[in-house]
């Protein structure tokens, strides 16, 4: 059993340790080349293709193509629910600091119920589960925070760094390196 004092110091030191580790041996590694963006999905299969009209090369140029919509980043909500949700995250942090991890998780669950896109709540949830030693749960929640923080480099980097730490702790060094590189690639965009 981990004592609450240890948890407290882990809690405070975790981001510092992660930041230090991010500047560690990985810096000298060759730059990470991201995986191909195309997911392993097949395009239309036979029964569907059969009905698709034969596509001819149109004479009209790209000019006539309507611009594609870029992937949306999730805006920060300004609803009363969001404010209350943030307050709950604050309270959860206090509980986590005092070693009451389960109580912290309860508050974070409430924060998520009030605002499903509260990335901080998912980030803290990941930290709580990591402290409890459940890497899988921690990964599930940090992934959700990463999804929510897209377009917000400061928070996104923090989530990437924590994800790398979780991966390292669960023995997935290679994956951790890749995520760390993603985090480092955001350094330029930090505000």
């Amino acid at each position: 059993m981990m004592k609450s004092g240890h948890i407290k110091s882990l809690w405070i030191l975790a981001p510092i340790l992660i930041s230090i580790s991010s500047c560690g041996p990985y810096i000298s590694l060759p730059p990470y080349s991201p995986p191909p963006s195309t997911p392993p999905y097949r395009t239309e299969t036979a029964p569907a293709k059969k009905n698709v009209p034969e596509l001819t090369s149109p004479k009209s140029t790209n000019k006539s193509v309507i611009a594609n919509q870029p992937s949306q980043s999730i805006p920060v909500s300004k609803t009363p629910q969001h404010l209350a949700s943030l307050e709950l995250v604050k309270k959860a942090r206090d509980f986590a600091l005092s070693g009451k991890i389960d109580t912290a998780i309860e508050y974070l669950e409430r924060a998520i119920e009030l605002d499903s896109y509260n990335g901080d709540a998912f980030y803290e949830m990941a930290r709580c589960w990591e402290i409890k030693g459940d890497h899988d749960k921690a990964l599930a929640f940090i992934d959700r925070s990463i999804r929510i923080f897209q377009g917000r480099p400061n928070q996104l980097r923090k989530s990437y760094l924590f994800k790398a730490a979780i991966l390292r702790a669960s023995g997935k060094e290679e994956e951790a390196k890749k995520i760390l590189d993603l985090a480092n690639s955001l350094k330029g965009a930090l505000k």
Binding site: A48, P53, Q69, P80, A84, R147
Partner: protein, 757 residues
């Protein structure tokens, strides 16, 4: 002579020795009996089941009326002057002043205090406590039910330290004024009672001390014999030698019978304070304490809910006795004697959210043996939101009555065979079951259809078929054949038809789902492979047996409503299946945590696949079979699917926002036709319910994940739109599956080719 004297001395010695031995034996026997009784559990305490606590926050769209209902549900009393004690509230213009009581049950502690709620135009503008603005306030959970044993005793234990002095004094003044002076039996008290009885020529006063009364209730049968009286006195004396006065008084205050609540016996001052005044014992006023003390003599005769005048006279007798003993001042006597009898008379069912509670009990029975549940005072905190549950019950009842009114053939001869319905509302991110209504009227039918009814899902199953297609590489613009099809199953030929009996030649995948077309769906399922479809269903957590027939594409198999809503959470939670929770925590009576459940996810599909299905189901709401939702007042972002089965036996609607997934089913238990489609039946209930719970939800847009790209496509060809395409729409694709060719129909120079198609 000397010899005789010797014999006499010996005789006396032997008698004395025997007497001493007998006394020792009696003392040892009763001591052993007391110890045996007190070493175990003192009382059998039922298990308590509580709802979740509720957050109220600044900016929330709730009215004063809603807040007052919430307070009444939590046994708060409305007063016309400034609240003087916890458990009271005052409505003053656009303000509601509430003095919250402390919630202090094993495992949970929520501080009370005076909070002012300020409203403006149906919005809770501001919350203040001690002059400081609050962002939110946590309201205490509601007691939903208790798990009683055969004796059906209800009891909330109190400690002597928390018991107000008024209450202790009142009980002593009226029941045993020399309590702190005697040693268990009060001879002076007995003589005084005897004298009073002789004077009155009837039994007016009993001479039993508090200790004797405790012994009578605790150790002996309620018979009036000399033997029992002697036993009572002996045990009382021994008890006093073993326990302090405060310990005895605490046991007495927790043991004493205080009336009936239907078949349930109210025991102890803690329970009585809750039941009669909606208060914690520490919050009782002098008048209330005196009233409770007065009731001990004959709890049902002096019941303030039924006989307020009698109760008032008795209360004032107690107050007078207290004043006589200088326990209260003359001023206090005057003030308290004039106070009206104010009791909590609101609606207090023995079981709230009965179908939900039954589901909780079922789970508890798997975790604990019945004796533990009945006697050990477990405290169970659940995920239920009482406000959402109440609205679900109201929506179901109201709309079913409405359907019966406008379609008289739906009326049944007996309530037992009436039109039924189910509502299950879950938080898709955390898995918390917020409401569960398993039938129309629990008092008529306790059968929990939400958990146990096996019904055909009809088209409500289609999103899972379309997920399988997306997973296999189809896209929302893939073309599907909508032409007659005949499937031979054994010796039978099955010819599925669309709801409108029309065939459209070919349709895009999105349109097929939005319009819930049967033929293209069957063709799609057969193209994917029925076995694959079944394995997809298993992946989503369906546990019912599904046989590999092509008709499964149209939901022609039986599942339980709870399975279906659980599977839908995968779409609502971006590909992660959330385990649905009803029980959050279980504590023992001393506050030790026994069980705890947190939100738990299991990755089932990718966020991109989940998003595409959500996008298609948003289309169902905007353009498809559920488009009438906007006319029903649903203006927030949501996705959903209707479902209707053969001969309109089942009407379904499963819909979700970012933070609430709700399933509604309507049908008859005997499978009679309802003549209600998913859209004309269940969907209307869904809309009514979701509008009513708007203050408790925060629907936000469904934002696409990173690997989703939007392209503008031509509705006629499904290819990338050109500026010549007359009918276009933005369509979501998983990156890499988007079309790459321009529309062949409306491209310049391709008109001839258009006509050749």
């Amino acid at each position: 002579m000397a010899k005789k004297k010797k014999i006499f001395v010996k005789f006396v010695l032997v008698i004395s020795l025997l007497a001493v031995l007998a006394c020792f034996g009696i003392y040892s026997y009763f001591s052993w009996k007391i110890e045996q009784r007190f070493s175990g559990r003192l009382w059998s305490i039922p298990s308590y089941v509580f709802s979740d606590s509720l957050l109220v926050f600044a900016g929330q769209k709730i009215s004063i009326k809603t807040l007052c209902t919430m307070l009444r549900n939590r046994l708060y009393m409305k007063v016309s002057t400034e609240p003087e004690r916890p458990g009271e509230f005052l409505v003053e213009g656009n303000k509601v002043k509430v003095w919250f009581r402390n919630f202090d049950f094993p495992g949970r502690s929520i501080s009370g205090g005076k909070v002012i709620f300020e409203f403006s135009s149906g919005i809770l503008k501001n919350l203040r406590k001690d002059g400081k603005n609050l962002i939110y306030w946590e309201m205490e959970p509601i007691e939903l039910a208790r798990y009683y044993g055969k004796d059906k005793e209800s009891r909330i234990l109190i400690s002597i330290k928390k018991t107000p002095k008024y209450l202790k004094d009142a009980v002593i003044a009226i029941e045993d004024r020399r309590f702190y002076e005697h040693k268990g039996v009060d001879l002076i008290g007995v003589l005084r009672a005897l004298w009073v009885d002789i004077k009155a020529r009837r039994i007016v006063q009993g001479g039993s001390t508090i200790t004797q009364q405790l012994v009578k209730n605790y150790f002996l049968r309620p018979e009036r014999t000399i033997k029992r009286k002697i036993q009572e006195a002996i045990i009382a004396v021994i008890l006093e030698s073993k326990y302090t006065k405060d310990q005895i008084l605490e046991m007495y205050l927790n043991e004493i019978y205080m009336g009936q609540r239907g078949a349930i016996a109210i025991h102890g001052m803690g329970e009585a304070a809750r039941y009669y005044f909606g208060k914690n014992v520490e919050d009782l006023s002098l008048a209330e304490a005196a009233l409770l003390a007065g009731m001990i003599k004959a709890p049902n005769y002096y019941n303030p809910l039924l006989h307020p005048k009698r109760a008032k006279i008795r209360r004032n007798t107690v107050l007078k006795a207290m004043a006589d003993m200088h326990m209260i001042s003359p001023d206090e006597l005057t003030k308290a004697s004039r106070a009206p009898i104010r009791v909590f008379s609101g609606f207090r069912p023995l079981k709230r959210a009965p179908y939900f509670v039954d589901a909780v009990f079922e789970q508890l029975k798997q975790l604990y043996d019945p004796e533990t549940l009945e006697k050990e005072g477990l405290v169970v905190y659940t995920t239920l939101n009482p406000e959402i549950e109440h609205n679900a019950e109201v929506s179901l009842r109201t709309l079913l009555q409405h359907f019966e009114k406008i379609k008289p053939f739906l009326r049944a001869k007996s309530p037992k065979v009436a039109l039924q319905g189910v509502i299950i509302a879950v938080q898709p991110k955390t898995g918390a079951v917020r409401a569960l209504v398993g039938g129309r009227d629990y008092s008529v039918s306790m059968y929990n259809r939400a958990l146990f009814a096996k019904r055909q899902p009809g088209s409500a199953i289609k999103p899972f078929i379309y997920y399988a297609a997306i997973h296999e590489g189809w896209t929302p613009v893939s073309w599907l054949d909508d032409e007659p099809i005949a499937v031979t199953i054994g010796k039978k030929v099955w010819k599925p038809k669309n709801y409108d009996h029309r065939f459209r030649g070919r349709v895009m995948l999105r349109d097929a789902l939005e319009k819930s077309l049967n033929v293209p769906t069957v063709r799609l399922a057969m193209a994917i492979g029925i076995d694959k479809i079944i394995s997809v269903m298993k992946k989503f957590g369906f546990q019912s047996v599904i046989k590999p027939y092509p008709s499964i594409a149209l939901g022609a198999f039986e599942i339980r409503p709870f399975e279906l809503i659980s599977a839908y959470t995968v779409f609502a939670n971006e590909g992660q299946r959330t385990y649905l929770l009803t029980i959050k925590e279980v504590y023992d009576s001393k506050g030790h945590l026994e069980k705890q459940k947190h939100m738990e996810w299991q990755k089932v599909i990718t966020p991109e696949e989940a998003y595409l299905i959500t996008s298609l189901l948003e289309g169902v709401v905007k353009e498809g079979t559920a488009r009438n939702l906007k006319n029903l007042g649903i203006s927030f972002p949501c996705a959903g699917k209707t479902g209707t089965t053969s001969d309109y036996r089942d009407s379904w609607f499963v819909g979700y926002t970012t933070d609430m997934a709700t399933l509604v089913w309507v049908g008859f238990d005997n499978n009679r036709s309802t003549k209600l489609s998913g859209a004309s039946g269940a969907m209307k209930i869904w809309a009514h319910f979701m509008k009513s719970i708007k203050p408790w939800i925060n629907p936000q847009p469904f934002y696409p994940p990173q690997n989703i790209v939007y392209k503008t496509i031509c509705k006629d060809s499904g290819a990338l739109a050109t500026d010549l395409c007359p009918r276009t729409r933005k369509e979501a694709f998983i990156k890499g599956t988007e079309p790459t060719h321009l529309c062949p129909i409306h491209s310049r120079g391709n008109y001839d080719e258009v006509w050749t198609h």
